[in-house]
Symmetry: C2
Subunit: 342 residues, 2 copies
C-alpha cells in the first residue's frame, strides 16, 4: 500500500492555511467572523469580542543569541495586540502559554515575564490565564488576545471600495533590515567571540525587529477624529502581501505610488549598505506591525495633517489589478512575496 505524501513546502504556508480553512464550517450564531481576518469576532451582548492568537518558537520566530528574553516576551504580546488593533478594537485580556526546556532558569522566566508584564501594562491588558510546561527544544510562547468593540466599530479586510484612500502608519522595512544587521553581527560574533557587536548606528532598525510596537495609539486617534476605516489589517507579512489580502477580501484593485511609501532614513541607508533595494524592503519586509487601512475620501481632511499616517494610493476596480507607480512614472504589477517560515 502506498500512501500519498505531499510536502507542506509544495503548497506553501498560505496554501496550507487555505487547505485547512476549507474544511471548517461555522455552526454557532454567536460566531460573527471566523478564520480569514486579523482576528475572529464573536457576539457579546451589545458589544463584540475579537480574539486572535499567535505562536512564537525559538529558532523560527526569534533567536535568543541576539533577542533579549524581555524583548521576546514583549513582542509575543505586541504582535497579538497588533491583530486586535487591526480590527479597530481595544485589547482587554491576554492568555500566555509558555514551554521551556531545562536550559531556562527561574530568572530567565522572570526576564520573559518582565517583558510580558511591561507589554500588558503598556497596552492596558490583563494576563488572565495560560499554561506553563516543559519543552524538549527551547522556548515556545503562545499568546491569545481578546479585545472589545461596538459591533459597528469593527473593521474587516473586506470593506475597501473604489476611490478609497490607502493609508499606512509609521514607516516600513525597518524590521527586515534590522534582522539583516542582527544576523550579520551574530555571524561576526560566532567567528570571533572577542568582537563587540556594532549596533549603535542601527538602533532604530534593530529595535523594529526586536521590540515592535502595536499601533494602538493610531486606533485611539482614529476614534478621536471620528474615523472608521473601510478596511484594515496589520502589516506582519509585508505591505504587498497585505494589499493582496485586502484586494481579495474586498474584491477590489489598488494602485500605490512608490514616492509615497514611508521609509526611515536608517532603514534606507542600511538596506543600501546590505545591497538590498529599499523599496523591496518596504514592499516585502515583514514584521513591521504598522497598520494598513483604507478610508473613504470624505475622511481624508480629518487625517490629512497626521504626522504618522501616509497616503500611499487608492482603491480601484478589481479588474484594474494591483499596480505600483514607480518614481519614474512606470506602472508595474505589484508582487506579493510575504514571509515564508516553511
Amino acid at each position: 500500500m502506498s500512501e500519498k505524501r505531499t510536502e507542506i513546502s509544495e503548497i506553501g504556508e498560505f496554501g496550507l492555511i487555505d487547505h485547512i480553512h476549507k474544511q471548517i464550517k461555522i455552526k454557532n450564531s454567536c460566531t460573527l467572523k471566523g478564520i480569514g481576518d486579523d482576528a475572529a469576532v464573536i457576539s457579546a451582548g451589545d458589544h463584540v469580542k475579537v480574539i486572535t492568537t499567535d505562536l512564537l518558537l525559538e529558532g523560527v520566530h526569534f533567536d535568543l543569541s541576539y533577542a533579549p528574553l524581555t524583548h521576546v516576551g514583549f513582542k509575543a504580546v505586541a504582535v497579538n495586540i497588533s491583530d486586535v488593533a487591526a480590527m479597530n478594537a481595544i485589547p482587554k485580556q491576554i492568555t500566555v502559554s509558555m514551554a521551556l526546556s531545562n536550559r531556562f532558569s527561574v530568572e530567565a522566566v522572570d526576564a520573559i515575564y518582565a517583558g510580558i508584564n511591561a507589554a500588558a501594562e503598556h497596552y492596558g491588558v490583563d494576563v488572565v490565564g495560560g499554561d506553563t510546561t516543559a519543552s524538549r527544544s527551547g522556548l515556545i510562547l503562545s499568546v491569545t488576545a481578546i479585545g472589545e468593540a461596538k459591533k459597528e466599530e469593527v473593521v474587516y479586510r473586506s470593506g475597501a471600495k473604489e476611490h478609497d484612500i490607502v493609508c499606512v502608519t509609521g514607516d516600513l522595512g525597518g524590521a527586515l533590515v534590522g534582522l539583516q544587521v542582527l544576523e550579520r553581527e551574530k555571524q561576526v560574533f560566532l567567528s570571533n567571540p572577542d568582537m563587540k557587536p556594532e549596533l549603535e548606528k542601527y538602533q532604530i532598525v534593530t529595535a523594529r525587529q526586536l521590540r515592535p510596537e502595536a499601533r494602538m495609539d493610531i486606533i485611539h486617534e482614529l476614534r478621536e477624529f471620528g474615523v472608521i476605516p473601510t478596511s484594515m489589517m496589520d502589516i506582519s507579512d509585508g505591505l504587498a502581501s497585505e494589499l493582496f489580502h485586502i484586494c481579495k477580501a474586498s474584491n477590489v484593485g489598488v494602485t500605490i505610488y512608490e514616492d509615497k511609501l514611508p521609509i526611515d532614513k536608517q532603514t534606507f541607508d542600511t538596506a543600501v549598505e546590505f545591497g538590498l533595494d529599499p523599496i523591496t524592503c518596504v514592499l516585502n519586509g515583514g514584521e513591521d506591525y504598522e497598520l494598513l487601512f483604507t478610508i473613504d475620501q470624505k475622511d481624508f481632511k480629518k487625517l490629512e495633517k497626521h504626522p504618522d499616517i501616509h497616503f500611499i494610493g487608492h482603491i480601484t476596480k478589481a479588474e484594474d489589478g494591483k499596480l505600483l507607480v514607480t518614481k519614474s512614472g512606470t506602472v508595474a504589477q505589484l508582487k506579493a512575496q510575504g514571509w515564508k517560515h516553511f
Copy 2:
C-alpha cells in the same frame, strides 16, 4: 559578576506558576476572574465569556509512536473543552495554533485536523482562528477555547462549603494505567519491530489516555436537573491534587472514602498487572478529564440516581484537614502528587 541561577525543578511546576502569578495585576473591570481557576471569566453584556488555553507538545504531552494524529487533534480540543465544562459554561469557539516540522506532510496535517474538526463537531464549537507555522522539533498544538454562561451559572473552585457533598464523574486512573500499557508496548516494539502490540484487552484504558472525553454531557444534565455545583474543576492532574486546589480556594477541608472511589475493572486489573496500587492510580493519575464538584446537600436527591456521578465524601472545616478514610476504616492524610512535566 555572578548571576543567580535557580533551576525550575527546584521550585517545581506549581511553584513556578505561583511565582509568575504573584507578579500579575488585574486592571480592567471586565476581567471578572483572572488566573487561578480552570478558565478566566470576562464580562460580555448580560452573559460572561470563559476562556482557557492549553499547549501540547510532542515528546512531552503525547508520543506519536503510539498516539494517532487524529486522536492528538481530538485530545487537544477535548482538554480545553473540559476546562470550559469545569466552569459550568457552554463552549462556543476555539482557536488552534499548530507548529510542524518538515517531517509532517499535508496528509499528516489533514489527519490532525480530522481530529480537531471531529471534536469541534462533537462539542458544537467553531474553529475561529489560529496560526500555522514551521517548527524545528515536531508537532506543537496550542488550543484556546471560549465558552459562554450566565454570570450566576459560573462555578469557581472557591465555592465549596462545609457539609457539601463531593462528587466525581465516570471513573478514575484509567488514563494513567493506559499510558503504562502504551509505554510498555512501545518498548516491546522498539526491541523487536516484528512484535504486534497487544492492545485488545486494554482498549478502555488506552482510549482514556489517547482520546479522552470532556464531560459536557454532565454539564448539560446538571442544567436539566437544576443543579449548580458549589465548586467544580476538571481532573487533569489527579483527584488528590484537584481536591487540594478546591480546599485551598474554598478555605475548607475534605474527607473522602476509599470505598466510594470509582475505578473501572480494566483499570483495576491493569494496575495490578503493572504492580501499581489501584487506589494510588485513582488518587494521583492525571489526564482523566472527569469532573470533580461539590453540591449543596439539598441537591443530593436530584443527582442520587445518576449512574455516572459518584459521591465520594464531604467538605469539612479547613482545620479538619484533607483526609482519606480507607476500606479498613483507617483515617489517612491525603497526599497530592500531581503530574510533573519539569
